[in-house]
């Protein structure tokens, strides 16, 4: 844990964690005290995938409702990062934080949240936090420790998350996808194949992302709760975003999202649920979410000159896509497969602590859809050789590699075939390294400043 802290403190840049680390060393109660000073108790979001996007959407909704909101925009989601955010902007009406799954119990204890959301629990960084099972138990115990007046927002489509309603003392709101169009389109690995109540294998009638879907237990009869916020209809427009029709306790609404994929739909539903729990009117929240740009590495576009020495020679846009684990990679590949044009892509995989040092998961991602869509591919990152090998077994022999993510991106811009959509798919530290390189050249804003 210390190394993780140190690496993030040293590696994340922007001072998103260091002030908090120091403050907590001098006064361990800093976060507790600052959190008490907020007008409205903070909102916490945890889960494997979608935390950054959900918090990003929620912060916009809260701000739109007139609440000045502090949040950890840089994605520094350990207590050090949260403390830093509270320190730097203490006089706020409220706060919303993404919280690392392993850190969630501590965050709940120190911050006394008014609402929490658990988005999903996928296999991620097994080398760091042990198996998903253990993470699920810890999160559930933290939910059980919440007071009666804390809202608990749960993903109905994730059996491990939905079953946490049994532990909640406060009001529960669930969210999930009803649209069957996308069921079965991308089936990843199942992380929770068993019933959370009786232990026998669950049966699925629909699956959206990995083990997220409509399930029931044939033995004890436990089944997916009907969601309070239901995404009734999803239209995915590839990298252009999506259109959702949602039914909520406050009425029906349609949202045009710039956030990508079914994963984006889940984040939007969770952010709406949190906003409603916080008393934000539905229409205010809807508009705010609709105007949100993708967060760092979640489909944001960077523009680069084709020839850095002669910027007048023309510029090309590249979509940056962060893929952290099999589920998020699989979802990105689905988004790309819906693009109207062929795709030219860099796939960059690092195996540092913040990525998870075990990259076996790339074999759980079905790359064949990408293989069918790709006009040009380049492997990159610390484990570029593993990416090349993985792609060979997806039917693409002899893919080239370039260790440096920035050099790979430049090659993509130079060599990617005309008429193709250019994308850079990368793990966390590969994306961070890329961003730092781009920032030095003034091509992107520092990611920790967020985007408004």
């Amino acid at each position: 844990m210390l190394t993780a802290l140190a690496s993030r403190a040293a590696g994340a840049g922007g001072g998103t964690t260091l002030p908090g680390v120091l403050a907590r060393r001098v006064y361990p109660e800093s976060a507790r005290v600052y959190s008490k000073g907020l007008g409205t108790r903070p909102f916490l979001v945890t889960g494997t995938n979608g935390k950054t996007t959900t918090v990003h959407l929620l912060a916009r909704a809260l701000s739109a409702a007139g609440l000045s909101t502090c949040y950890n925009a840089g994605g520094a989601n350990l207590m050090s990062g949260i403390t830093t955010a509270l320190l730097l902007e203490p006089a706020r009406d409220t706060a919303c934080f993404e919280v690392d799954e392993g850190e969630f119990p501590r965050a709940v204890e120190e911050l006394d949240p008014g609402a929490v959301a658990v988005l999903n629990l996928f296999r991620d960084q097994l080398d760091r936090y042990g198996e998903v099972e253990a993470v699920a138990s810890r999160v559930e115990r933290a939910i059980a420790a919440l007071p009666k007046d804390t809202w608990v927002i749960l993903n109905a489509d994730d059996p491990a998350v939905a079953s946490m309603s049994r532990a909640a003392k406060g009001p529960v709101l669930t969210f999930g996808i009803q649209d069957e169009t996308w069921a079965g389109a991308a089936v990843g690995v199942q992380d929770f194949p068993d019933c959370r109540h009786c232990g026998s294998p669950l049966t699925y009638s629909r699956r959206f992302i990995g083990h997220l879907g409509h399930y029931h237990c044939p033995r004890c009869g436990w089944s997916r709760p009907h969601p309070d916020l239901a995404v009734r209809n999803v239209k995915l427009h590839g990298l252009a975003g999506s259109t959702l029709l949602l039914s909520t306790p406050a009425g029906l609404c349609q949202v045009h999202l710039k956030i990508l994929g079914l994963a984006g739909a889940y984040s939007a539903a969770a952010a709406l649920a949190l906003a409603l729990a916080g008393g934000v009117p539905l229409e205010t929240a809807r508009r705010a979410i609709q105007s949100a740009e993708p967060a760092f590495g979640r489909g944001e576009e960077v523009r680069l000159p084709t020839d850095p020495r002669r910027p007048s020679s023309g510029w090309r846009g590249v979509a940056l896509l962060l893929g952290k684990n099999p589920a998020s990679f699989a979802e990105l590949i689905r988004v790309l497969s819906l693009e109207p044009t062929p795709v030219a892509a860099v796939v960059a995989v690092n195996d540092r602590i913040a990525d998870g040092t075990d990259i076996s998961w790339i074999w759980d991602v079905d790359f064949t859809a990408l293989a069918g869509k790709a006009s040009w591919l380049l492997a990159s990152g610390d484990r570029a050789e593993d990416v090349v090998l993985r792609l060979k077994y997806a039917g693409l022999e002899g893919v080239a590699s370039e260790r440096s993510p920035l050099a790979a991106l430049e090659k993509l811009v130079r060599e990617g075939p005309a008429g193709s959509t250019l994308v850079f798919l990368g793990t966390y530290t590969a994306m961070l390294e890329l961003h730092r390189g781009l920032q030095k050249r003034g091509l992107v804003r520092p990611f920790w400043k967020g985007r408004h």
Binding site: R123, L126, G130, S360, W363, E385
Partner: protein, 259 residues
Amino acid sequence: MGARLRICHLYPELLGLYGDGGNLLCLVSRARWRGLEVDVEEASLGDTLPSGRDLYLLGGGQDRQQRAVFADALRTKAGLAEEAARGAVVFAVCAGYQLLGEFYVTAAGEELPGLGLLHATTLAGSPRLIGDVYAEASTPWGGGPLVGFENHGGRTRLGPELSPLARVIAGAGNNGEDGTEGALAGTVFGTYLHGPVLPKNPWLADLLLSLALGRGEPVPLDPLPDREEASAATRARALALARRGRKAPAAPSRPTRRP
């Protein structure tokens, strides 16, 4: 060639952690690239073990799944020992490897009896042994470098008659103490290496295929180019040595095959 390889994948949805499905993809692809026909079938909880298959494959899993798998295996998969005795190849990774042993004692002290194909025993331990691994393998049919990633709490001890699959150069292996990694008895292979292990160690994948096709007597296979495999293995070995190596190692061996 017209030969047909019949693979049985055991507990695919329960023992499918850490990309071990890549081992199946590797075996199937390498057989098909050589013009062989491949049948793959699955056998999970409650299913009787299909008999007479050439190769039985098991992956790694989480603790909760492990209990269910051990109990089910004793009831419905005990025939695996007979299949192995007839020359079928059994290849098991991590939790699957532990299942082939005599017993596994969980962190809570519960003893789960295994299938007993390998005279090995496993005790849950802490901390987990995690990281890149480089080992040198030797088998009666030749050996070679073995690279992968380990992530296990269990400490496995081999019985006096049981050979390890490999000797660890960088990493922990079976128990982090005696330098052994995996086990090999007849045509039964166990290893702690994920990665998944076979794509990056094609010589081992081909040994399994050749033994499976020959029912325990290796048959010659057409060579494959394996350029991507070689550079991924070289990189994995370098990273394992840099991160977990204890001493300056000798140059890696070349995969050898004895006729």
